[in-house]
Structure formats: C-alpha cells, structure tokens
Symmetry: C2
Subunit: 201 residues, 2 copies
C-alpha cells in the first residue's frame, strides 16, 4: 500500500467510500429501494462520476459482497480439510459466527433483503456458497432434518446479528453464544480446545 501511486490510492479510496455508503443505504432502504442516484447524492457525486466506478447497481452489489464471500469461501475450504464430519461442521460454524459478528450490517443485507437474495441467486453467486455451507453443517445428521437444522443455524445467526435486535452484547460474548446455539441445534460436542481459537479462523 505504501508504494501505491497517489492516483491508484485515490481511486481505491473512492471505490471503498462508494461501497461503504452503498452498504449503509442498502441496510436502511434495502437494495431495491436504493438507486445509484441516491448513492451519488449521498456522496455529493454526479451520477456520471459514480458511473466511472460502477455501471449498474448489480455491479456495485457484487463489489459490496465479494470481500465477504471471499472470507466465506476461505472458511469453507479450511473446514473441508478437517478430518471428521463433526470437526468440519464445528469449523464452519465458528467461522460463520465470527463473520456474522464482525459484519453485522452487511449480513443483514445478505440474510434478509429479498431483492439481494434473488439477484445473487440469479447470478449463481449466493446459491452455491449457501449450499456448500449447509452441506458442511448438515453432514452430521444425514437427511432433511439435518438440512433444515443447518438452514436454521445460518439464517438464525445472521438474523439475530442484526443491529436492530434486542441483543446488546459485546462481540466476543455474542460470538460465543452463537457458537453454543449452533452446536446445540446441530448436536455438536463442545471441542476440548477453547472456542476462542476456533472462532477466529
């Protein structure tokens, strides 16, 4: 980063500013309720200046979710290297709970906004990621019961992490309770090493 030219750094900063404003507006007005014009207005940009970075709202949404999806993919791949079904589910659960706690606003957009879910599913970005996470969590209990429990855990942690819920806990406590809730639902044993280590993949 220190060797980047000022011009590149400026463009990167602007891109990140646009993404941050977009997440905030998506969370408040939902994806469908947020136009590129609203994002441009919030930034004090002309629409043409915004177009220089993102041509469509869909392109902007992909830029918003891609860093998080990259982290989810990394957790899935690490989980798949674990030896037992229980260890794979435990690793997936701990990693997911950690992401949910660290990205509460973005998770609320991803978990609940009908417009976002449909758009990402239509482009195949979200569907395969959700399916891979569900498979890792559901593997401990084969059959539809395991699939439903895995879906409940994923939706439940993302939904309960919304900043607007009644929960007013610090990040560490919330992460720990999410992992405990998920272990119970999925009937996972509590591993011998402290959760703290597994919760930060």
């Amino acid at each position: 980063m220190a060797t980047a030219t000022p011009r590149t750094t400026g463009a990167t900063d602007t891109r990140q500013r646009i993404i941050d404003v977009a997440v905030r507006l998506f969370t408040r007005h939902s994806f469908a309720g947020t136009s590129l014009q609203m994002i441009a207005d919030e930034l004090g940009f002309t629409k043409a200046a915004l177009y220089h970075h993102f041509h469509t709202r869909e392109e902007l949404l992909r830029a918003v979710v891609e860093p998080l999806f990259g982290q989810v993919r990394a957790i899935i791949e690490q989980a798949q290297t674990q030896r037992s079904r229980h260890a794979r589910a435990e690793h997936m659960l701990a990693g997911y709970a950690d992401l949910a706690v660290r990205h509460r606003a973005l998770m609320s957009v991803l978990a609940g906004d009908p417009g976002v879910i449909d758009m990402l599913r239509a482009h195949g970005h979200l569907g395969s990621l959700i399916d891979r996470q569900i498979k890792l969590l559901a593997d401990v209990e084969p059959g539809p019961g395991g699939l439903v429990k895995a879906a409940v855990v994923l939706a439940g942690i993302a939904g309960a992490a919304l900043p607007s819920t009644v929960l007013d806990l610090d990040e560490d406590a919330l992460r720990q309770h999410f992992v405990e809730a998920g272990r119970r639902t999925l009937a996972l044993r509590t591993p011998r090493r402290p959760t703290r280590d597994t919760a930060r993949p």
Copy 2:
C-alpha cells in the same frame, strides 16, 4: 359474512386484493422498493382509487401484518397460560413454527426486510411482540445465552422458511423439523403428546 351487503363484501374483497398484491410486491422488490403507484399499476387501479382504501404505504403495511400479528398475540397468550417454563416455551415454539410454514412469503418480509423492521419497530408494533416471544423462549435458560438462543430460533425459522431456500419439503415435514431444531437449540424435552396437536394452536 353471508349477511354482509354486496357493497361491504366488495370493499372487503378489494381491500384483500390490495393486501395480496402488496405482499407479493414487497416480497419481490422489498417494502422500500414498492411504491403505492406500483401497487396501483399491478391492480390496474388509479392511484386515487388506491388512496380510497389506504392513504400511505405504512397504513397498507399495517393492514398486511395485522392479521399475522393477531395470530402471534393469540399464541403468546395461550403460551402464557401453560404451567411450566418448558411448556410455555414449547407452546410458543410450536405455534411460531406453524405460522412460519403457513405464511412463508409474509414471514420473509417481516423477518428480513430492513425497511419493514425499522418501520414496524419505530411504531412499536413489532418490538414488543418480538420481545414477548423471546421472553417465552428464553425463560428456560436465564441470562444472555438464553436470549441469544431464542433470537436465533425466531430468526432461523423465519429465514429458513423463505420460499427461496434450498428446502423443498411439504408443510408438515418442515413444521416438524423446525420444532425439532428449536427444541434442540433451547434444550426443551420432547413432550409426550404428539407435536401435531401442539403445532396447531
């Protein structure tokens, strides 16, 4: 209903048609992404004709959610008459799972749409209902752990019930798996009488 004048029945039907179209558009475009004009267009009404029934989008949203909220209130009140904390949580869980399965589209709007949640919370409609449900479910395990598990169960069942999830099960199977997932998360014993009876309050 048989004694209603044709005029009243007509107005009631029109009101219900507006509500049905609104739910469909909220689910597809989210609440913030759906204008009264879009609802009027979809129905082939003028905006003035729609105003005759609903003056604001917020008024329409209240009409959409009020029947469901009425059912939630009835479940809460029945649950509160149960003798033990476990029986109260079990009754709340079974009733909630049943509603989630029978109103999948509407639950998706209520559980995930940031615009809906903020609007209903701001008017005090949703907050107290969620709090009462969480209290009934969380009572089995006092402290923050019980509260987090209750929030995960409520958000998880609503989120996993979305029509867009991977689950393709019939209503009875889905209801049964939701109740099982909730019982595990909350550490409830399986009651002796069949779930079917308690799942239809």
